[in-house]
């Protein structure tokens, strides 16, 4: 299991693995960086321990040799799958008290609309397909990272997730 201890004893049979004495090689397994069953038994010289800084420890983790672009793509994928929630505020026109909604718990616009209709007990329609008269219908809008208010549904879901800051349900005849 990954741990922070500096164990100088070798866990590999010395007959098949002669001690590797490298003054500045200190292996510290960090759970998030090295495989948890990484077993490195290396003979350490005491001078090496003094010379070790946290910066050095980090550099030793630059393994396996993959380029930064691939590394960040994979990290982003891991981060996204670990990021559990993304709550945004939702207001409905005319109601002073807003609600909060976790966008990550939805996988698309349909799911989002269904939840909002249930939360606010109103029909939320897409303005171009609506058969409900404008004065009764509501549409869903959002504030993007530039501060503009936009109609929800124009851009792909993942793109929407990246730019949305908050939601607002407004009357259709305002759009």
């Amino acid at each position: 299991m990954g741990d922070q201890s500096n164990s100088p004893s070798s866990s590999i049979d010395s007959s098949s693995h002669p001690a590797l004495c490298s003054p500045s090689s200190i292996f510290q397994t960090r759970r998030d960086l090295l495989s948890t069953d990484l077993k490195l038994g290396l003979g350490l010289s005491t001078s090496a321990l003094h010379g070790c800084s946290s910066k050095e420890r980090e550099q030793l983790s630059h393994w396996p040799p993959i380029k930064p672009l691939l590394r960040s793509t994979l990290e982003e994928k891991v981060h996204r799958s670990h990021s559990k929630t993304f709550f945004v505020k939702v207001y409905m026109e005319g109601l002073p008290i807003g609600r909060k909604l976790d966008l990550f718990s939805h996988n698309g616009y349909d799911s989002l609309m269904r939840t909002l209709r249930r939360m606010f007990r109103t029909t939320i329609t897409c303005p171009d397909t609506s058969r409900v008269p404008p004065e009764k219908a509501h549409v869903l809008t959002y504030e993007d990272e530039e501060g503009d208010w936009m109609m929800v549904g124009d851009v792909p879901w993942e793109f929407f997730l990246r730019t949305v800051k908050r939601l607002k349900i407004t009357r259709a005849d305002k759009c």
Partner: protein, 580 residues
């Protein structure tokens, strides 16, 4: 018989120039230049392409002076291990000195290719203003510039044909840099902006693409939504090389059919890349191009095996395949059966830090490829297990390998069946593959493998070693053998002073040597520097503040970079680098 070298004067210079124009290889032109003074003069005045493998090996002014008529220059800066963050960010490799010298001495420069260099916006502006007929700018793994610098290039390079930005770190401070290409600009043939993080204005890009009829290569960046990508690509059905943006979105039947018809319209598509985050939804829309593809880069496509397999096995004419290990052994077995023309395979790790359940990609996949793909000559393979038997089989199947890079993810991993070191396997590779030019080792390895490499790897030019060897003997075998070795990079090996000093003169026959986390002491570096004045021995140490002079001889060197140079010690070393 004409005395001395008077025969050279038997023909006018122009005739010799014409003869030399058939010599493409730098090595041949260099050889020609050594024959006699006349040829040296004629050759240097007629050389049009220059490649500088190490920007510090020669002073820019000297290079520009010697070859006054250069039209195309390629320059490399930082050591290869900079790609994996082993080189301090301020180490060097700045492009200013070169760009300034070139602006001064090569006003007719048309092509500039920089790799692993620090390029500032000022540099880009200087490039944009200095070369009237500038046509090709390629920046690979560079940093130090922003989209404002790109705007300067766009605005001023009237005849730009290629703008290739490959894996650079670019600051995004000029959102509309693409709009700086003037309305009259129509010469673009190749545009690669895959590494840019920010959004690119799609409508401006659409206009640009529409007015450049010769556009053959278009590689977009991650940020563009799939819908916008589709409308963009519709404008350029003549494309030969496409790099898509994100390939995932909610399923919209309309988008699917638009994507399908757009790709069906590509009659000449040979190369496909990008496909970030591809989901199973949209990949089938582009099946129509599979048959014609010769190059496929799916290393950012984190799709699972069944979909991946369906796609790749349709690509019967593939010569180059870059893919994630999500393809698994079964996928590679299918590739071995379908892609008979495969020459280059790269398999990248989807989970390098081992946090997810393990993928079923083992040595079997690579063995299958080596058996089924007779033209395979270049391999980069990340995996978690290997055996000597598998390596032997691969070596016997594919003696035509020229590049073999195996990365077993855990250091010191032995043959998982016999528990032996992988010496025998890698030895088989170097003994069988006589034309091997590039080799990367991994797994549990003793000095024995280095003995084989030193003895057999006669064509080897680049060797990468990590977590291997028992003693100095390992390094000694390499440096005393490997006749054609140019670049050697070593990390975390018990190699030290003796091997270095015993083989000092070898280092001048090589471009460079990198050693980090090995057993070299400062004393040896001092001795080496004294003995070999035409080597720069750079000691890199980010830990201490005290100057080099005050450290004792037995001080362990953290990182060492040695390279041959005729320019002497460089003047731009940062605080963490000392030229001994």
């Amino acid at each position: 018989m004409v005395r001395g070298f008077g025969w050279a004067a038997a023909f006018p210079d122009e005739v010799w120039e014409h003869v030399f124009s058939f010599l493409a290889a730098d090595a041949d032109r260099n050889a020609v230049a050594l024959v006699c003074r006349a040829w040296h003069r004629i050759e240097r005045r007629s050389r049009r392409r220059v490649f500088v493998g190490n920007c510090y090996a020669v002073a820019p002014a000297a290079a520009v002076r010697r070859f006054p008529e250069v039209r195309a220059a390629a320059i490399k800066g930082k050591p290869h291990f900079a790609d994996f963050n082993l080189v301090p960010t301020d180490w060097g490799g700045g492009a200013e000195a070169w760009v300034e010298a070139m602006a001064e001495g090569w006003p007719h420069l048309e092509e500039l290719r920089l790799k692993r260099m620090v390029v500032s916006d000022d540099c880009l502006e200087l490039i944009a203003r200095s070369f009237k007929n500038f046509g090709v700018l390629s920046l690979v793994s560079c940093d130090g510039f922003s989209t404002a610098g790109l705007a300067a290039i766009a605005a001023n390079c009237r005849n730009l044909r290629e703008l290739d930005l490959h894996e650079n770190e670019v600051e995004d401070n000029c959102l509309n840099w693409i709009s700086h290409f003037p309305e009259s600009f129509t010469s673009l043939v190749s545009l690669n902006i895959a590494c840019l993080e920010g959004d690119v204005n799609t409508s401006v890009l659409e206009c640009l693409i529409s007015r450049c009829p010769n556009l053959k290569t278009l590689r977009l960046n991650h940020a563009m939504p799939l819908e916008k990508l589709v409308s963009l690509l519709q404008r350029a059905p003549q494309l030969v090389d496409v790099g898509t943006s994100k390939f995932s979105a909610d399923h919209h039947p309309e988008l699917f059919s638009k994507l399908e018809s757009t790709f069906a319209g590509f009659k000449h598509l040979k190369s496909l890349s990008g496909i970030w985050e591809a989901g199973p939804t949209y990949l089938p829309a582009i099946y129509s191009v599979c048959e014609s593809l010769t190059s496929l880069n799916l290393c950012y496509a984190t799709i699972q095996s069944p979909e991946l397999l369906k796609f790749v096995s349709r690509c019967k004419n593939l010569q180059r395949l870059w893919v994630m290990d999500l393809i698994e052994d079964n996928g590679l077995i299918a590739v071995a059966a379908s892609c008979k023309l495969l020459q280059e395979l790269r398999v990248f790790p989807s989970d390098p830090y081992g946090v997810a359940p393990p993928i079923s990609l083992t040595e079997h996949g690579l063995v299958a490829i080596s058996a089924g793909c007779l033209m395979l000559h270049s391999v980069l393979y990340f995996c978690r297990q290997m055996t000597n038997a598998a390596l032997l089989t691969i070596a016997n199947n594919r003696p035509n390998l020229t590049c073999f890079r195996l990365c077993i993810i855990e250091p010191h991993t032995p043959d998982y069946i016999s528990q032996e070191p992988l010496d025998a396997g890698f030895s088989a590779i170097v003994e069988s593959c006589k034309d091997l030019r590039r080799l990367s080792l991994s797994g549990l390895l003793t000095d024995r493998v280095f003995k084989s490499i030193g003895a057999s790897a006669n064509r080897l030019e680049m060797l990468s070693v990590a977590f291997a060897g028992d003693s100095d003997a390992g390094l000694h075998y390499i440096l005393s053998g490997c006749k054609n070795l140019r670049k050697l990079e070593i990390r975390d090996c018990p190699f030290g002073d003796k091997a270095l000093l015993d083989n000092a003169s070898k280092l001048e026959t090589m471009r460079s040597l990198w050693m980090s986390s090995c057993s070299v002491t400062l004393g040896a570096c001092r001795q080496l520097a004294l003995k070999m004045p035409r080597l720069n021995v750079e000691v890199i140490d980010e830990r201490r503040g005290r100057p080099l002079e005050s450290w004792p001889d037995d001080f362990p060197v953290e990182k060492l970079y040695i390279y041959r140079t005729v320019a002497g010690p460089r003047s731009d070393t940062p605080p963490c680098v000392w030229t001994v």
